[in-house]
């Protein structure tokens, strides 16, 4: 599948209030072109909730629903079961941020996955709690400065590494898990299509660069996704029932440093910190590709 095959119909309209250059709207708009009109959307509390609509206005052109922050897994389960009772084939999709997925929402998510609910769960990962003002999450990478892990004189940013959420979801052995980047158009669209067509629990995890929180020029959003993949900070793979079925390998691996440059959240990095992050990437690389980077 190619972007030329995508329809012109827009199900997430312009007029939304995301920051200029936000990575999330193109993800959402394009994925909705694949999912189509017979879709119900749930969003928990996050940037997407807020920039996607302020009463009485809404960017969504499909039925839209919000309850709270930590319960996406349960909310989409409830909708899906009611529809099953009504004999409907509508796609039920929850779109949560990394905070709503890795941290406060992991319990409801795990429960829904374990029950193999017939839903799609999407995590758009901007690596912090952006809606509340850039606080760290379980997804924030090592060293990154956030408002709760500031680059202080004593503690230089976040001390812990990013949690491997996609692996946790793969361990649930659900029908489909995929990690995605919008910069990889064809891969992105194929995975979205696959997710649409598979039955049972599907988990899509998409990197969503945030110019405001990561502090980079808004024109570089797509570039950031690309570099995240090329550096190994973000890995693209697919898994079915826990088995990895497809891994994307960057043509040329770039040093982590090249990804960090240009992002204000890493500006305070010392060479040792760069090295520590590189070590983490290399370790992951080896685990995934089975070879030394």
């Amino acid at each position: 599948m190619n972007i030329k095959d995508l329809s012109d119909e827009i199900l997430f309209t312009p007029g939304h209030t995301a920051c200029a250059g936000c990575g999330a709207p193109p993800i959402v708009r394009n994925i909705m072109k694949i999912f189509g009109k017979d879709t119900i959307i749930y969003t928990p509390a996050n940037c997407l909730l807020v920039f996607g609509g302020t009463y009485p206005y809404l960017a969504w052109k499909v039925p839209y629903f919000h309850e709270a922050f930590e319960n996406t897994g349960a909310c989409i389960s409830g909708v899906a079961r009611a529809l099953r009772k009504q004999g409907k084939k509508t796609l039920v999709v929850g779109i949560a941020g990394d905070g709503g997925t890795y941290d406060i929402g992991i319990q409801a998510l795990s429960g829904a996955a374990e029950r193999n609910e017939d839903v799609i769960y999407i995590c758009y990962d901007n690596e912090a709690y952006m809606n509340t003002g850039i606080q760290r999450s379980g997804s924030t990478p090592y060293g990154a400065a956030t408002t709760t892990t500031p680059a202080g004189t004593k503690i230089p940013g976040k001390l812990d590494h990013k949690k491997d959420m996609a692996e946790i979801m793969r361990a649930h052995e659900v029908p489909y898990v995929a990690t995605m980047s919008i910069a990889h158009q064809r891969d992105f669209l194929e995975k979205a299509k696959k997710a649409r067509d598979v039955e049972g629990f599907r988990y899509l995890h998409i990197i969503s660069p945030c110019p405001t929180g990561w502090r980079f020029d808004p024109s570089l959003t797509i570039e950031m996704s690309r570099k995240a993949v090329d550096s190994g900070m973000w890995t693209l793979f697919e898994a079915e029932y826990g088995e990895i079925t497809n891994i994307y390998k960057p043509k040329k691996k770039i040093p982590v440093k090249e990804y960090l440059m240009g992002q204000g959240r890493f500006r305070h990095f010392t060479p040792e910190m760069v090295e520590e992050l590189q070590r983490w990437v290399d370790h992951k690389w080896k685990r995934i590709y089975g070879e030394e980077p």
Binding site: L6, P14, G15, A20, T54, W60, I222
Partner: protein
């Protein structure tokens, strides 16, 4: 008591300016409060902040509706909204612009002070952060606080966050603005149509707030209605597509966060009603067919 309303864009530091001014007034023995309009606006959206100053404790907790002074950090805002709304009869507006007061067109002719805060900031700070320079102009135009107090407030407030050197530079920007501010009278006559709001009473309010799509006096509401929100006025940079160069690859169409690029006869076209000027399209265009320039608003 006097009241000030600051107009800026999310991320420009209007709130910091309002707070720093309150601190300056406090340093001169006044009582001062400052608060932002708490909205859900993201970076780039028009936002407001307020400061109130008095010689005794300020008890009122409402928002400011009839300010004595209006400060505009971003010139583009005067094109899309009536910044003079509610301004007291002999009030003053302070605008960041290269223009002279007499060249500025607003809804009414009013006492107007102008300063090129962006130019000063670029010169002194190396970045177009205007929230400190504009305070110099405010001090000059109103005479309510001494420039020395503004400098001290900036050092305290910005120095604490960004380091002493940065605090000093910001104070210098304020001083320069103070010296370069022009005071005069603006032109009037510019018309603004206020955007109508849908305000249902309890009988019209849908149960549980659930809505489908409805046409109201305020336009479309409900499902798919955000198209009513023209985000084009967030923009400071504007893309121009060279149709000759465009190869119709659709990359810009795919990546544009606003979804405001459409393909017309195989060529990309921008709907400027929504374009926020992020520059992604230009950066991603493989044919280098898109150029971003600083927008000059008529």
């Amino acid at each position: 008591m006097y009241e000030i309303r600051f107009h800026g864009r999310g991320g420009q530091g209007g709130k910091m300016a309002a707070e720093a001014y309150a601190l300056a007034a406090f340093l001169e023995g006044n009582y001062a409060v400052s608060f932002p309009f708490f909205g859900a606006e993201r970076r780039g959206a028009p936002v407001k902040a307020f400061t109130r100053v008095d010689d005794k404790k300020i008890r009122i907790k409402t928002q400011v509706y009839e300010p004595d002074y209006v400060v505009v950090l971003d010139e583009t805002l005067i094109e899309t909204q009536d910044v003079l709304e509610g301004l007291k009869k002999d009030g003053t507006v302070i605008i960041n612009t290269q223009r002279k007061p007499e060249e500025v067109r607003l809804s009414k002719p009013v006492k107007c002070a102008t300063v090129d805060a962006t130019g000063i900031a670029l010169e002194v700070l190396g970045r177009p952060i205007t929230n400190t320079a504009i305070l110099g102009a405010l001090a000059r135009a109103t005479g309510r606080v001494k420039i020395e107090s503004v400098e001290q407030a900036i050092m305290e407030k910005f120095g604490a966050r960004l380091g002493r050197e940065s605090g000093e530079k910001n104070a210098r920007a304020a001083r320069m603005a103070y010296e370069q501010t022009l005071v005069g009278t603006s032109q009037g006559g510019k018309e603004f149509v206020p955007r109508p709001q849908w305000l249902p009473d309890v009988h019209e309010m849908p149960i549980g707030g659930a809505i489908g799509t409805m046409k109201t006096e305020a336009g479309l509401i409900g499902i798919g209605s955000f198209v009513e929100n023209k985000t084009g006025d967030w923009r400071t940079f504007i893309p121009a597509i060279d149709k000759e160069k465009c190869i119709g690859c659709r990359f810009c169409w795919f990546y544009c966060p606003e979804g405001c690029i459409s393909m017309v006869e195989g060529k990309a076209e921008v709907n400027y009603d929504y374009c926020k000027g992020c520059g992604i399209c230009a950066h991603e265009c493989p044919a280098k067919a898109i150029e971003m320039t600083r927008e000059v608003k008529a």
